[in-house]
């Protein structure tokens, strides 16, 4: 039985995500809500988040292609994205969202595009790491 090994591996993976500043306390809050009735609660929420946020990313991408950027629309979309990210404890992604919104408020199109690229990178990187994490948790 390798359960001890995978449990330790899981703990190490989680610690690493925290040490890298990718996750915050909210992720722990989610884990505390997991129980026998909802043993996969965290994974379910995270999966939902990625489905939801993919849609938002597409919308933002479309909005950024417009000739005259609608900063209000972009800010609203990003507010939703940030909320969702915050609810799963995605610390670094949340910080990128804040940066993007600052650029929106300043009407800085180039800043928006740059921070959005960075945000997508962070978002994808965390997604991969969480997928690996959940894979180990299912062992």
């Amino acid at each position: 039985m390798d359960t001890n090994h995978s449990r330790r591996q899981l703990a190490a993976m989680k610690q690493s995500l925290f040490d890298q500043g990718l996750l915050d306390e909210q992720f722990i809050q989610l884990e505390e809500l997991q129980d026998d009735a909802n043993p996969n609660f965290v994974e379910e929420i995270v999966t939902l988040h990625y489905r939801d946020s993919s849609r938002l990313i597409s919308s933002i991408e479309q909005a950024l292609k417009e000739r005259n950027l609608d900063f209000n629309k972009l800010d609203t979309l990003m507010h939703q994205f940030k909320g969702s990210s915050s609810s799963i404890g995605a610390k670094k992604v949340k910080a990128e969202c804040n940066l993007f919104r600052e650029y929106c408020r300043a009407g800085n199109a180039e800043g928006c595009m740059r921070s959005f690229q960075q945000l997508k990178k962070e978002h994808a990187a965390l997604r991969k790491k969480l997928e690996a994490y959940f894979q180990v948790s299912r062992v």
């Binding site: 929420i45 939801d52 507010h79 969702s84 799963i88």
Partner: protein, 147 residues
């Protein structure tokens, strides 16, 4: 759970009841979270649908249904169409539902926003994301517990 002893509140919970909460939020993840934190809840994604459940639409039907079903409303502030603040006002303006506590949640810590909601009669203002400790604090407040 016992009824609150405060005489100023006409809102009473039966001893055996778990409070039924109406949660309103346009964000799916936040609805799932609230649903998990508040076990006996109905979730709606916007103000108009919430008002429908509460029996407060202009048709005015089923007003007693809404009153007997919902013990607490917890709503997001920022929602397209109708904000949580507007929903709060509609609930407080209604003769049937005005005693139901309304909690407002927001991801943004804006003092003027918080004061505005409290002045309009919000029970509590909570910063998102919602945590178990928030739910405990709220439950305590509603039950008039000494913490």
């Amino acid at each position: 759970m016992a009824a609150p002893s405060s005489s100023s509140s006409t809102w009473v919970m039966e001893t055996s009841d778990v409070p039924h909460v109406l949660a309103v939020d346009d964000n799916l993840i936040d609805r799932k979270l609230v649903e998990k934190l508040l076990r006996n809840s109905s979730c709606k994604e916007n103000g108009p649908r919430a008002l429908e459940l509460l029996g407060l639409t202009s048709g005015g039907q089923n007003t007693m249904n809404g009153r007997s079903k919902v013990n607490l409303v917890i709503t997001d502030y920022c929602m397209p169409g109708m904000t949580g603040y507007e929903l709060l006002k509609k609930i407080k303006e209604s003769s049937v539902m005005k005693e139901v506590p309304v909690v407002i949640m927001s991801s943004e810590n804006i003092p003027t926003r918080i004061n505005k909601c409290l002045e309009e009669g919000a029970q509590m203002f909570i910063l998102k994301p919602l945590k178990q400790s928030d739910v405990k604090k709220l439950t305590c407040q509603l039950m008039n517990c000494e913490v």
